[in-house]
Amino acid sequence: MSKNVKVNVEYLTRVEGHGNIVVNVKNGKLEECRLDIVESPRFFEGMLRGRSIFEAQHITSRICGICACGHTLASIQAAEDAIGFIPTEQTIKLRKLLLHLENLDSHILHIYLLVAPDLLGVKSFVPLIHTHNDVVRRALRMKKACNDVCDVLVGRHVHPISAIVGGFTKLPKEKDIDTMLEILESIQVDMAPTIELGASLKFPEFQRETEYVGLVNDTDEYPLLSGDIGSTDGLRMDKHDYKKITNEFVVPHSSAKHTKASRDSYMVGALARVNLNFEKLHPKAKKVANAIGLKPITTNPFLNTAAQLIECIHSLEDSIKILKEFKNDGVDYAQAITVGLNENGQIPVKAGKGVGAVEVPRGILFHEYEVDKKGMIVNANCIIPTGQNCNNIEKDMQKLVPEVLDKNQDEITLLMEMLVRAYDPCISCSAHFLNVKYIDC
């Protein structure tokens, strides 16, 4: 077939951050296929040097507005690991709740506002205000509800206030727990039509086997906040060995650093987690997964959006469970942490290194800090889910383009955009770090 296709999407829309898609087919042969990251570098790892470990959360939360709570939790975990602080059970439980809210909030934003417009054939949610008013209202209502729960728990969702190294500066009162439960139960009502919408969406047909990477554990809990690193190819290792999984490497003829584990590339995110830990999902989530035919191992990356829907149900139900337990057992307010000058010596500090590995909306996120004996940061490293996915996205594009050459250029462009969007890339995050391709902006 002698066909020429040139796709050049500058500033891909409805994603977080700035990325370009470049596809070039000449005489039916794929010559070029790239996802370029064109975000301005921000140098977070460099800026952290010389800062107190107690400031790391506040600063790294600002890496990303969408996953600010995820960065917060990974940062705190790495910081506590570095200084040898062990959080209480209550603190861990509240952090799990915060992580659920983060995943729920982000997935709803992605499913409704970023992906659904493509599948409904429009450019954004704005035209849907007229054609699907109830859907738009439901989306905005659910998004706000997640935010409102975060407001109660940590002050706000974008750059949470009360979650810090050591625990929480403010613990939810009895009435706060009731408020959070009430809001989450209102989301339950909206979840039913959300599932219906999700089940009705037609995702493009495409399969490519790859390795799926995420947290794993030996308990019945769906691992999000802690665990070992595992993969569908059978890798398993302690979180401190994360660099053996991410294996940043340089691509010939490019300044890019990509990641690979057992194969050429791997995928992280909701689909990877569902593929790895399907049996540990909440029964309600599993039931819906069965109904829409999502089962491990699903190898269609477009279905990452469907996996996010399944995780929404899981996170919502588990959040309600956690809050009901707090309602029954009460909260120990003596565990509130006072922020301040080295936390007024409340938390002892020693020199060391620590790693945080947390499943945030887009996949496994790593923070690593090294501190001196005063708790000042000497070195910092962050590896972001989207950075890990970049290589896999390009491999998908390379397989998908030849399969769809019978379509016209606009259709191919849209399909490429949809593929990248399915990964829910957070380019704003990933571009601050080494492991992504960069071209001059």
């Binding site: 829309t13 970023l114 974008v158 770090f433 001059d440 902006c441």
Partner: protein, 251 residues
């Protein structure tokens, strides 16, 4: 009434302030009754070459960013600097605490040459700005106030009194009385003392008041035995770019 065309643009930032708009919930639909959002890359694929109001998020940190903000300024009748990164340089300004060559090489090693960067500046240090919404992230009630002012063509001034004023009204126990230093006394109010209400300190994200009563502050520092270095360190978290002047064309 013809709707005002509004476009959102992002520069170097986390895009969290744009997200605050999506977090308004169904109230967003009331706002959309008044304005016509013609470009908002984070949530829309539509693009437009004309607009009346440009809402700009992020700080200016690359040569490309300088050119882009100049173009936007030419097109827009009204330009709103949205969020601390745009308003005061914000957290990106921490980069200015380091030698730029050194920090580039620390993060990107031998690939550093690909990462063009200039000292972080607020938008008003590069082009004239008509309205400012500060805060990391922005406080939505304040954004709505500014948007109303912009649509009506009346002035909005960021409060120039200290966060302490709001903090007192919220009946929080003073951090200094608890033996903890806080940026509240020198930081611009308007956030309803958001962080202190939630048990944390003020980090100065809204910018420094124009008259920080330095002598009085020194008395406070002495009284509570807090070093000037601590305060400077915290100021440099969000407010470092204020040391720079306006961007010169040859920079």
């Amino acid at each position: 009434m013809k709707k005002v065309k509004v476009a959102f643009f992002d520069f170097t930032c986390c895009e969290g302030c744009q997200l605050q708009v999506a977090n308004m919930g169904e109230a967003l639909l009331d706002v959309l009754d008044l304005i016509d959002v013609v470009e908002f890359r984070e949530v829309m694929s539509e693009k437009s070459s004309t607009y009346d109001v440009a809402i700009v998020e992020g700080s200016i940190t690359t040569p490309h960013g300088v050119e882009r903000i100049k173009k936007i300024r030419k097109t827009a009748k009204v330009l709103i600097a949205y969020g601390s990164c745009a308003a005061i340089g914000g957290i990106n300004g921490m980069k200015n605490n380091f030698d730029l060559k050194d920090i580039r090489e620390y993060v990107y090693q031998k690939d550093a040459k690909h990462f063009d960067t200039i000292p972080t500046r607020a938008v008003h240090q590069v082009v004239p700005v008509d309205y400012t919404v500060t805060g990391c992230p922005v406080y939505i009630p304040e954004f709505v106030k500014v948007l109303k002012a912009a649509l009506m063509g009346i002035a909005y001034n960021v409060p120039d009194n200290a966060v302490c004023v709001e903090c007192k009204l919220n009946e929080n126990e003073c951090m200094y009385d608890k033996g903890i230093a806080c940026m509240g006394p020198i930081t611009r109010a308007g956030c309803n003392s958001w962080c202190i209400n939630n048990g944390n300190i003020c980090y100065g994200c809204r910018g420094i008041v124009s008259n920080p009563a330095e002598k009085g502050q020194k008395d406070i520092l002495e009284k509570y035995n807090i070093s000037l270095e601590w305060i400077e360190n915290k100021i440099n978290m969000y407010n470092k770019p204020r040391e720079l002047g306006e961007l010169k064309t040859d920079e």
